[in-house]
């Protein structure tokens, strides 16, 4: 079978499902090797989908005070997370972005405040470099988390252990 053109975007959607589960497992904290605990919280917006093309069905959960329970209900029905708004905290820096799972993309990323206004005028280049650094750090952390997921996802214990735990969490 030719698998070279196989659509693997389901890995992105499963990654988001796993990430949500991992973030709730320890109240928002995820242990990342060589980094320590980071914070991941799913906030306000979640888009889930099942099926493909004209047969696809989408569920959107949105709202400032939404606890995303509808999202869990949709997961139980077999939908996968296509898009989520995520708050990511690394040490004292916190940023927020919409993550699009199918193509591993970032939308409306809000970075932590950098220099104050007076300093900004004096040092535009420094401010841009700092913003690049913060962006790179956020993207790099999502790549690191994906790599942690992929290790688990491709291990024999995925179906026997992790999927069972994820299903149990979905019932909570």
């Amino acid at each position: 079978m030719d698998v070279s053109n196989k659509d693997l975007s389901f890995l992105g959607r499963e990654f988001l499902t796993w990430l949500w589960f991992k973030s709730e497992e320890r109240g928002g904290a995820i242990m990342v090797p060589d980094v320590g605990d980071i914070e991941i919280v799913f906030v306000r917006k979640l888009i889930l989908e099942s099926g493909e093309g004209q047969y696809s069905e989408t569920v959107e959960c949105k709202g400032i005070y939404s606890d995303l329970n509808e999202g869990k209900a949709a997961l139980r029905k077999g939908k996968k997370i296509k898009e989520a708004r995520i708050k990511l905290g690394i040490k004292s820096d916190e940023c927020e972005f919409t993550f699009k799972a199918d193509n591993f993309q970032f939308q409306t990323m809000k970075l932590p405040a950098t220099l104050n206004m007076d300093e900004e005028e004096k040092d535009k280049e420094g401010r841009i470099l700092e913003r690049i650094y913060l962006t790179e750090t956020a993207i790099g952390m999502m790549e690191k988390l994906f790599s942690l997921f992929l290790d688990k996802r491709l291990s024999p214990a995925w179906n026997s252990e992790e999927v069972t735990r994820i299903k149990k969490w979905m019932q909570e």
Partner: protein
């Protein structure tokens, strides 16, 4: 994208290929060669080119102002003329009526209709001002990756095409499960994975 302020929307790329040894001169020549040029008043639908990041009107890139530490930062400007289909249909109808009146016949052949539509379209294009849009680029040359400030498929295609023509390098959209960029054993494991079933009806 928001490198200077505001929120950022971005796609990541791998930059494939290598730059010549004198890459700073090469980049300086090429970015100026493919800098944005205003659409001449005419029949072009689109104009695409590079501008500086901090001043979108700057296409001279004096003192290599796109260089910042390890990064090259600049913007893509796309000017597009958009003609609404309702306006086009209306003008085509008017032109067809005029054509019939002048010819004294009540029938227009298919080829004639296509010709009228094309003529009307080009005439509207001449009168329509272009709408500009800007997208930021942050390129880490030594590490071979780049961030681009749009997720739109059409914009990304324009960007990938202009980047290739300018720098003679190919952009590969960054997807962490792309099996071309992992070792063969890992690629095989990724390709053999099938979608998991989390639904409560499965056991």
């Amino acid at each position: 994208m928001g490198l200077i302020k505001g929120t950022l929307t971005l796609s990541k790329y791998r930059v494939i290929g290598s730059l010549p040894d004198n890459f700073k001169d090469f980049i300086d020549n090429q970015i100026k060669l493919f800098a944005f040029r205003e659409l001449s008043i005419g029949e072009s639908e689109k104009s695409v080119g590079w501008t500086s990041l901090e001043n979108v009107l700057d296409t001279d890139f004096e003192y290599a102002n796109y260089l910042l530490a390890d990064y090259l930062i600049f913007s893509l400007r796309i000017d597009r003329k958009i003609i609404s289909s309702s306006l086009l249909n209306l003008k085509v109808l008017e032109a067809e009526r005029k054509f019939i009146a002048e010819r004294g016949k009540d029938k227009i052949y298919r080829e004639e209709r296509a010709e009228i539509k094309e003529r009307v379209y080009l005439s509207l294009l001449k009168q329509t001002p272009p709408i500009p849009s800007f997208y930021e680029i942050c390129w880490n040359v030594s590490q071979g990756w780049l961030l681009f400030g749009s997720l739109s498929e059409k914009v990304r295609e324009d960007f990938e095409d202009l980047f290739k023509r300018t720098f003679k390098l190919t952009l590969q959209r960054f997807i962490p499960w792309d099996t071309k960029y992992v070792d063969s054993q890992m690629a095989e494991r990724i390709l053999s994975a099938n979608s998991s079933n989390f639904s409560s009806s499965s056991t």
